[in-house]
């Protein structure tokens, strides 16, 4: 069983909490420490960015994080090393990579190296379902689970393809926009229903989740997991206690199930 499947089984219906961090931000040592800190705070899965110079799907917080990592001289191989050492310390926590197409195609054997480092899934932010086929094939050959984004405006035939290709989870974006810039907390229940109809893997909501009430709203819309990115990256950059932040956000997943 894949680490994601095992995690969802272990959670037994409780909402999974995913913490996003940019690898190498602001440097390799701090980055490794932050990965541990989010797990200590209760993250069930970790989503990691491999920095790209031109991240068009990201808002200012994640862009700046990528720039900090690149300015520190972080290379793709360093990112795989960070994943590898994280994997040694946390054998069961699923790790998903989020990056951009040009980073993937520039490195021969990207998928293989990612799998070998211990990553479980890969989401390429600028590869939509329309272009995903060769990438998904390479991921499956390497033993990496593809993750696709399903948006509220994605038409049904495309949702059906996404449901078929996505393996670890389905990354749901319920409102238009880029990372970290939403008012937050507005989720479309219809999206989960449509995905469920097509047999998609568990819906995990991202984009615009920065407060416990957003987590609860996502769960009310049918989320089986949430991913928080900008709020955690921003908090880390301010030198705050990231474990504590994750604890409060993860806490919201339990509060809800307790009061149901």
């Amino acid at each position: 069983m894949s680490r994601y499947a095992a995690m969802f089984e272990r959670l037994n219906g409780e909402c999974a909490f995913g913490a996003f961090l940019m690898l190498g931000d602001p440097d390799l040592e701090t980055s490794a420490r932050l990965l541990d800190a989010v797990v200590e705070g209760g993250a069930d899965m970790v989503e990691v960015g491999i920095p790209f110079s031109d991240p068009v799907a990201d808002g200012p917080v994640i862009q700046t994080a990528a720039q900090r990592a690149l300015a520190a001289g972080v290379r793709v191989g360093d990112c795989f090393d960070l994943i590898r050492s994280f994997r040694d310390r946390h054998p069961d926590v699923p790790v998903g990579i989020l990056t951009y197409a040009n980073i993937v195609v520039a490195r021969t054997g990207f998928m293989h190296d990612a799998a070998e480092a211990g990553a479980d899934s890969l989401l390429i932010a600028d590869v939509p379902a329309l272009e995903v086929e060769p990438f998904a094939r390479a991921m499956e050959q390497a033993g990496i689970e593809p993750v696709l984004i399903a948006a509220a405006n994605t038409p049904e035939p495309t949702l059906q393809r996404i449901a078929g290709v996505s393996k670890a989870y389905t990354y749901c974006v319920s409102r238009a926009g880029i990372t970290g810039t939403h008012a937050g907390g507005e989720f479309d229940t219809g999206l989960v229903q449509r995905l469920t109809k097509f047999g998609a893997p568990p819906p995990v909501f991202g984009f615009g989740i920065s407060k416990p009430e957003h987590v609860r709203a996502a769960m009310a819309a049918g989320a089986k997991g949430v991913i928080c990115g900008s709020v955690i990256v921003d908090s880390a950059a301010r030198g705050e206690d990231v474990s504590e932040l994750v604890r409060s956000l993860k806490g919201a997943t339990r509060n809800d199930s307790a009061t149901k």
């Binding site: 110079s53 991240p55 068009v56 040009n102 195609v105 520039a106 939509p128 984004i149 880029i178």
Partner: protein, 383 residues
């Protein structure tokens, strides 16, 4: 999508999933408009009576060789950009959009978008690298004068590629009311195809004018290539003819240093701004900083159709340095009384080289824009 959006292996539609429906809507509107005589009539009316088409074909009287200039510098707005913003502006109307966003480098495409925004009644927002806002104050004011809002982009290298990133980010949140009026024949499908079709008028006119004036086709067609819209517009109607197609890239301070914008000559295959194409990048896929004396050629990717024309061998791509372009800029002013854009001077510089070895060859040069925007920079450089 109804078309496949590929040129050989290049092109495609590499954008976040959220933008795919907006691009599908745009493709559908473009294909429907193409079959609608009322759309063609309105566009052709604007091109003729507002923008000033057809533009003249001028045979150089004093420069050596046998050089013909296709005078897009005489188009309203001062460059070929106006052709396609009128087309996209009418499409945006057709789709019921009320707001236009655009990226701009030196400001030419921003000015063109501001023109169409004012003419057709759109709210217009132009993203421009903060560095370029500083360097191109006059164009910033021109845009503002026509009612556009100019947003300085502080991210990345604060130039054209960062302005495109920011426009794409805006569009990800605003596509329901907003059309992204991309400025060149690059980016995700359907932009490369659509922009080529709206710029095709350059080559269609030039081909007929060559036959009328010279009695035959030119031997070579030469155009500068940044994103590549004026070149593809000039080349499109010559693709099936026995005519050399030559694209001239910015060799900046020299192809052997890193300060150039010669994507096809020095780049490698990659994916940027929605398309698979040639890209100036490092060994890990991080996008490189580029350089050219002309801001319009200072871009690390290139339209995917040019990538295909290069790989298939149909197009020849060469470089021209800042210094060569500047010399051609000066020569054209002195010999013919025409002050052209620095971008266009790259094409002319190569034509002059060709004319030296083949004085009898008829060479058609795309004079893509006028040089008013470059005059103060030229003054400093030629002093």
């Amino acid at each position: 999508m109804r078309l496949d959006g590929r040129f050989g292996r290049f092109g495609g539609c590499y954008v976040p999933e959220i933008l795919v429906p907006a691009l599908e809507q745009l493709e559908a509107a473009f294909l429907d408009a193409r079959d609608d005589p009322a759309f063609a009539a309105e566009l052709n009316g604007l091109l003729a009576n507002y923008a000033g088409r057809p533009t003249p074909l001028t045979r150089c009287r004093n420069l050596p060789g046998n050089i013909y200039l296709k005078r897009e510098d005489l188009l309203h707005g001062g460059a070929h950009k106006t052709n396609q913003v009128l087309g996209q502006g009418l499409l945006a109307k057709r789709m019921g959009k009320t707001r236009l966003i655009a990226e701009t480098g030196a400001g030419q495409h921003g000015v063109a978008t501001a023109i169409v925004g004012a003419l057709l009644g759109f709210e217009t927002v132009v993203y421009m690298g903060a560095e370029d806002v500083e360097r191109q104050k006059l164009n910033v004011f021109r845009m503002q004068l026509m009612g556009a809002r100019v947003v300085p982009v502080e991210s990345g290298g604060r130039t054209l590629k960062d302005a495109i990133n920011e426009a794409l980010r805006d569009w990800s949140a605003s596509f329901e009311t907003t059309h992204y009026l991309l400025g060149t024949a690059a980016g995700p499908h359907p932009f490369p195809t659509m922009v080529r079709e709206f710029q095709r008028v350059i080559g269609r006119e030039a081909r007929a004018q060559m036959i009328e004036q010279l009695g035959r086709l030119p031997d070579a067609v030469v155009a500068c290539v940044g994103g590549g819209s004026n070149a593809i517009g000039l080349f499109a109607d010559f693709i099936d003819d026995p005519v050399r197609l030559i694209g001239v890239e910015a060799a900046g301070r020299g192809l052997d240093c890193e300060q150039h914008g010669a994507t096809l000559l020095r780049g490698t295959r990659g994916i940027l701004h929605g398309a698979e194409t040639y890209v100036l990048q490092d060994d890990e896929g991080q996008i490189a900083d580029t350089w050219s004396v002309s801001a319009g050629l200072d871009y690390p990717a290139v339209g995917p159709e040019h990538a295909h024309l290069k790989d298939s061998g149909r197009g020849d791509y060469v470089g021209c340095t800042d210094a060569e372009a500047l010399a051609a800029f000066k020569a054209l002013a002195e010999s013919e009384g025409i002050i052209c854009a620095f971008e266009s001077a790259h094409a002319l510089a190569h034509a002059l080289k060709l004319a030296e070895v083949q004085p009898d060859s008829a060479i058609l040069v795309g004079l893509s824009g006028r040089g008013d925007k470059d005059v103060s920079q030229a003054q400093a450089l030629l002093a």
